[in-house]
Symmetry: C2
Subunit: 465 residues, 2 copies
């Protein structure tokens, strides 16, 4: 049997072949150019393989916020596997003369072989908390800066806002519906971060597929408008989705919408949704009306531009669940965390590790590797974020030995091998649990929405050798 000659391939198949044969997209160019130009200069000057410790932290919380929530760790570990410079990436870097041949050679074989520790995903954090510690050569560590920060800054901004929303909702479920107000891939990450902070589901299908998150959604105003009248739309939706669905009742007139919904579905309709207007008074009217019609178990879902404050304001309203969009995916006023990735310790010419930090005018750093623990009072309530700085080995061991301290660093990558417990759907489950436990441990009042200082102070201790 002869192989088909290349010309025997249909044109469209031949054109599609390179695409069909390309592997998963590389994450390696999701990187600032200066990471690679620094690498080239360090390779040339002979310091690229100095052992280094980088730390990720934020200098302050957004104004008025009492705590932050770390999210993105699992996604970061998933992306690390795809941080590879393949032929496509190397060819482009060469053609653009971004770096020289020696650097291209280094990148072609790139694989992170170092160690990464971090706060467990879902953990609360405070100013200065070293939420991630990356240890390896300068070369292998510096090139991860952009990708690591992009992921942790966005996901943590969303989780930090989401945690305030689920706090404000107390026992009522909150659902994520913000995909349309965020970059299409940020939306997927936002859904994941929201669930970590206690949301019960998301409208985003890709997030459902990727991490097994529960997905939700029924119909929009367009569906009602598509039909000849509201009644016809409700009949169609009930036929397709069953009696447990949620009918959107505010397309024409809320009172008539309730009547049509119950006329079509009967009093065992799952829920009605309100997406506009004065939700507090509307919810009261709708509840009364539903009860009059015998639909006492039909729930009320509200979804109109909610944030944590609007949710809190509805605490006394007869509302059963909340859908949050814009405010969630934009971090409710704080769309990024301001986390930075700083070199804090590196091997010197004599081979010993030396603390380093920026020293001039502003953004002054604290040099040296840090360990972190949360100090708890005898009732298990958090009282302080304790950072310890000093000789690397001493710092790593320190928190294990002190009563009343809960150590915060867990191993994420060991010798280049990702600990897969933190990735995928299982990683999200762990993060959900960690967040719930960490938030419950904060001082009373930490969950108040009013602007105030960080819920616990950050103190830095210096260990001597």
């Amino acid at each position: 049997m002869r192989a088909p000659e290349p010309s025997a391939l249909p044109d469209d198949v031949a054109r599609a072949l390179p695409t069909l044969l390309s592997p998963r997209p590389s994450t390696a160019l999701l990187t600032d150019r200066y990471e690679l130009t620094m690498l080239q200069a360090a390779l040339a000057s002979g310091v690229a393989h100095r052992h280094c410790v980088f730390e990720v932290f934020t200098r302050r919380l957004p104004p008025g916020r009492r705590y932050g929530v770390l999210a993105g760790t699992g996604r970061m570990l998933e992306s690390l596997a795809d941080f590879r410079f393949g032929a496509a990436e190397l060819d482009w870097l060469a053609a653009q003369e971004v770096v020289d041949d020696r650097t291209l050679g280094y990148l072609a074989d790139y694989r992170f072989t170092g160690d990464i520790w971090g706060y467990a995903e879902g953990e609360t954090f405070f100013p200065g908390s070293p939420v991630l510690v990356v240890e390896g050569t300068f070369a292998e560590s510096v090139v991860l800066e952009t990708l690591v920060l992009s992921i942790l800054n966005y996901d943590s901004a969303v989780a930090s806002a989401a945690s305030r929303m689920t706090s404000a909702a107390v026992d009522r479920p909150v659902m994520e519906m913000g995909s349309r107000r965020a970059h299409e891939h940020a939306a997927v990450a936002a859904a994941r971060a929201a669930v970590i902070a206690g949301f019960v589901g998301t409208s985003n299908l890709e997030a459902g597929r990727r991490w097994g998150l529960p997905t939700i959604g029924t119909a929009a105003h367009a569906f009602t408008l598509l039909h000849d009248d509201e009644h016809a739309a409700f009949v169609a939706q009930i036929a397709a989705q069953g009696i447990g669905t949620t009918l959107l009742i505010d397309t024409f007139d809320v009172r008539r919408g309730v009547e049509a919904a119950i006329a079509v579905a009967g009093p065992t309709l799952g829920a009605v949704r309100l997406d506009s207007g004065d939700l507090l008074s509307l919810a009261q009217d709708v509840r009364r009306h539903l009860d009059e019609l015998g639909a006492t178990d039909t729930q009320i879902v509200v979804t109109s531009d909610l944030d944590e404050f609007a949710i809190a304001a509805l605490a006394a309203a007869p509302v059963d669940s909340y859908g949050v969009g814009t405010a969630l995916v934009t971090g409710s006023g704080a769309p990024t965390c301001g986390m930075v990735y700083k070199l804090v310790s590196r091997e010197g010419a004599d081979g010993t590790m030396q603390p380093v930090a920026k020293a001039s005018v502003a953004k002054v750093g604290v040099g040296g590797r840090k360990s972190a623990a949360r100090r708890l009072d005898p009732t298990g309530r958090a009282v302080e974020e304790v950072l310890v700085v000093g000789p690397d080995a001493a710092v790593v061991e320190w928190a294990e030995d002190v009563d009343s301290l809960r150590p915060l660093h867990v191993p994420l990558v060991v010798g280049g091998a990702v600990d897969t417990r933190w990735t995928g759907a299982a990683g999200v489950h762990l993060a959900v649990e960690r967040h719930a436990a960490s938030r419950a441990e904060l001082p009373r009042g930490a969950r108040r929405l009013s602007a105030d200082d960080a819920a616990i102070p950050t103190v830095t201790l210096r260990l001597d050798t």
Copy 2:
């Protein structure tokens, strides 16, 4: 010649095969679940194939903003090609019982066959501007809502902020450096949106690769701290990047940094960068110092948490260019545009097109397909955003026939075929030109940063048959 038996494949190759053979990632699940549940119900009720017109617009500009900038159109068209439900997507939807078999069958063959018009990418917009018009069956159009809005809302938020920054910088170049403060893929889109609004380059390598954008970047504080002293770091950087590079001089002491920079590079050094402190007074000191050392052509780049206001405040400082990060990628206080995707016209039971709109309590819409044009005064200055609503055919033709009106809709997709002029690097170039021309046409004062109303009013005319 015998084909190798499956077992002859090395294990790692066998494991990699499914990945190697998978096509470009589908964008089809970057979608809210309710788009698909609405589709299922509409297929069942027989209205899924009614002809529909959806419009994308924003009800208001962010507080104080005078105009918005449309961006993302090219990216949206690029993503449309990958909006396909392959086996992986269909299997997941089936396993999760998101939709029924009939709907899965529809999605398996899905391909958008309708028409899309829109404002040209880079165009300025105002409240109500119909920046995109999607026409096709309900089924093929509704499922695009989430993807279209995600892209336009984020990219336009960034471009709208970016335009204020390049306005404030007047003739000085502005560079995009915000990747670390945005979701890793949002960062790529942000770089593109920034360039459309006049930025001269980006630090983001992937954005450079994808759309041919100029990339920039030299070194961070970590590079200086990695070396035994600042002098050694500067020697290494000059050796690798040449005398035209930019040296970061604020790691230890700015004055000593300037001295070290010129001592190492000589007076023809390209530039120095300041990333912290009081930039106005520091820039004056550094300029004086550089001039004293004979480095009169060495430029000063500043990059510390700048936004449009900080840029404007540095107008009198001896600064040569700006690097902007956080404020750019987060839309400088307005991280999303609030654009919505609304059904405005649809085929009725009698086969004629009928205007439709939500009518209750709030978020009330204007039904009917709209055409849009900018009315210009005799000097070519914009005076009004004119929307015309009425019978579809009349509206489409209308603006062409009126003097002093510049029609705003261009065809983007015709019968399902994307007009590729608007995609790729060429699309970005067109958008850069469109934005510059559109901004130049706005009334004097439209570029002031102080909070004010929209620069021109939006008026809606109603055409009768």
